[in-house]
């Protein structure tokens, strides 16, 4: 009798251990469609914000945003992002001059960042999808500029194409390893 009871208890304990391990392992890794860890979320937001900032009157050069994202990008992606590092001349889109002429800056709202629901993320990386909306602000007055008061070619106002960033974890830090915005399945 005691032996049967011991076996029964052992089986129950084994089941508890197995269930706990499975449950723990499921909680431990990132899930497709799930929320990002705080440090990964911060990296994604920082990258998108810097990219959107790039044309604003608060930017010293059109490529200032590269300096901001360099610490949070992989070397491979940074090289691809900034292939003209040795160029004697910068590259300035028209809106950069417009913003400096008007003293406009861009304020972005980055939200709903989740792991991509199709490509399952791993503990060392995955694809991140976010929502993005921009406001154009008059830096002098602090007022928001309405879309109708902006020229046709000015895009930094209203809902934007959802950012899609590839994040990888290197040496314990999350880094941006690609920008796949504009691509869908």
């Amino acid at each position: 009798m005691n032996r049967r009871r011991t076996i029964l208890i052992a089986i129950v304990l084994l089941m508890v251990v197995v269930i706990s391990v499975v449950s723990f392992s499921r909680r431990g890794g990132p899930e497709a469609g799930g929320m990002l860890p705080g440090d990964a979320l911060a990296v994604a937001r920082q990258y998108v914000q810097a990219q959107q900032d790039s044309i604003g009157a608060d930017q010293n050069t059109p490529t200032s945003w590269f300096d901001k994202v360099r610490p949070i990008t992989t070397a491979a992606w940074f090289t691809k992002l900034h292939p003209q590092a040795a160029s004697p001349t910068g590259s300035a889109p028209y809106n950069y001059f417009f913003a400096h002429q008007k003293n406009y800056v861009v304020k972005s709202e980055i939200s709903n960042c989740v792991w991509d629901s199709i490509n399952k993320p791993t503990s060392i990386g995955g694809l991140v999808d976010c929502s993005l909306s921009d406001k154009t602000i008059d830096r002098s007055s602090g007022k928001s500029i309405t879309a109708m008061d902006l020229p046709f070619s000015w895009t930094a106002v209203g809902k934007q194409a959802p950012p899609r960033l590839l994040l990888v974890k290197q040496d314990g830090s999350w880094l941006v390893d690609g920008d796949l915005t504009g691509q869908a399945q």
Binding site: P93, S117, N119, K159, Q160, G178, T181, A184
Partner: protein, 433 residues
């Protein structure tokens, strides 16, 4: 804007990311191929999906100057037979560079006396609507530092027609001078690149991933839609002879190669592809067994060449020969229903790259010519699976279903309202049910 002859090679530098214990997938984040945001041009009626920024808010309409110059860009694209795809890339690029305005440059004094000048910038020594720099061999008249003081060379770049001609380049094999041999047509595979990647390949701007151009895609699309029909072909300021014209189709059939469809459609419903699934229900082995060897990203000519053309309600589409009879039957049923739904963009076959992220490579039915997307701008792909507004008519869904197609709008997660894929064949015998 720095715009040199160098071409950025995007397809080589992928980064490896371990997906699981026994699987490593290369995220080739620089190799872009179309998927849902493809330009589905068809007989001048279709357009590209607007995936650029700033799409949600109404803005000022384009200025008269922008429209005037946009028509010139479109006109040169028409002369070069680059289709809407080429015109879109030209508009997107020139919108980014100059808001399609003829800009002089305070650092290039001779530019300021150009009779048609419409504004002044100070970026490098860039001038004109594409911000081409005279010293970097964009002009046929002079190059190098001396070009900066050569009025004829600078003014040539401020002529919007010439600037567009230089941007679009010349057909490979033509006798074009160097200044006209580094444009879009000279970029191998530009038709299947994401538009902003193609733009960057020509311009070599300081933002290597082309995201600066991507921002302007939706604006360019709008401009194209409004002005394509209103724009006449524009003669090339520097005539070019010889060479092989670019294929601007990007895998989409032209209006002149519509062929008849052989065989009949035996499918009466999809046999695979649960409405709960992701839709990619055939395995890779089954897809290849049924539809043929898809090839690789480097060489998929065999699959591409076997595609036949279906005239789908006026839209010539390349599809797998096994699918063609059923797609034609779908079109016939829709026509009989009296549907007045307007197809503005539609495509079927294309080779989807497998970059491990947004495109699913050989798992994509498009890679085999066995799936079609209709009007992506109004029938979105929704990864979360959340019900989303779309305008796919019931009669379309029914007609596709009745001939063996699964609709992505019926999937639980994700939802792909633009997408129909053919699942009307029994894999074991390779025949339609």
């Amino acid at each position: 804007m720095l715009a040199t002859a160098s071409v950025i090679v995007y397809a080589s530098a992928g980064s490896a990311l371990a997906l699981s214990d026994n699987q490593t997938k290369v995220f080739d984040s620089g190799s872009y191929f179309y998927d849902t945001d493809v330009n589905y041009s068809a007989c001048g009626e279709a357009s590209a999906l607007t995936t650029g920024g700033g799409s949600g808010a109404s803005t000022q309409p384009p200025s008269a100057i922008t429209i005037k110059n946009a028509k010139i860009v479109i006109g040169i694209a028409k002369t070069d037979n680059l289709g809407k795809q080429g015109a879109l890339i030209g508009l997107m690029t020139s919108l980014t560079e100059s808001s399609i305005t003829i800009l002089g440059n305070t650092k290039v004094p001779v530019s300021l006396s150009y009779p048609g000048i419409e504004g002044t910038g100070s970026n490098g020594d860039s001038v004109g609507i594409f911000q081409q720099q005279p010293q970097y061999t964009w002009s046929t008249i002079a190059t190098g530092p001396e070009a900066l003081t050569n009025q004829a060379a600078v003014w040539q770049l401020m002529n919007p027609a010439y600037a567009a001609e230089a941007f679009f380049g010349s057909p490979p094999g033509s006798n074009a001078p160097a200044a006209l041999s580094k444009g879009l047509q000279n970029i191998s595979g530009w038709q299947t690149m994401q538009p902003w990647v193609a733009a960057q390949a020509v311009q070599s701007s300081g933002t290597g991933d082309g995201s600066n151009y991507r921002q302007m895609l939706s604006r360019a699309q709008s401009l194209l839609d409004q002005n394509w029909d209103l724009s006449d072909s524009v003669p090339l300021p520097v005539p070019i002879s010889g060479g092989t014209a670019s294929d601007s189709s990007g895998g989409v059939a032209s209006c002149t190669d519509v062929s008849s469809v052989n065989g009949s459609c035996d499918a009466t419903q999809p046999l695979y592809g649960s409405i709960n699934g992701s839709g990619n229900e055939y395995s890779l082995q089954q897809l290849a067994a049924i539809f043929g060897d898809p090839g690789t990203a480097a060489d998929h000519s065999t699959m591409e060449n076997k595609q036949v053309t279906v005239n789908f309600l006026g839209n010539p589409l390349k599809v797998n020969p096994l699918v063609a009879p059923c797609l034609q039957a779908v079109a016939n049923q829709i026509k009989q229903s009296g549907s007045n739904y307007k197809i503005t963009s539609m495509a079927c076959y294309r080779f989807d790259s497998d970059n491990g992220t947004s495109n699913i490579g050989l798992k994509s039915y498009h890679t085999y010519g066995a799936a079609c997307d209709i009007n992506p701008p109004t029938n979105p792909f929704v990864e979360s699976g959340a019900p989303t507004a779309h305008d796919m008519p019931d009669e379309y869904v029914q007609a596709f279903h009745d001939h063996g197609f699964t609709w992505g709008g019926n999937w639980h997660q994700p939802k792909d309202y633009m997408h129909f894929e053919f699942n009307g064949i029994v894999p074991s015998n390779g025949k339609a049910a």
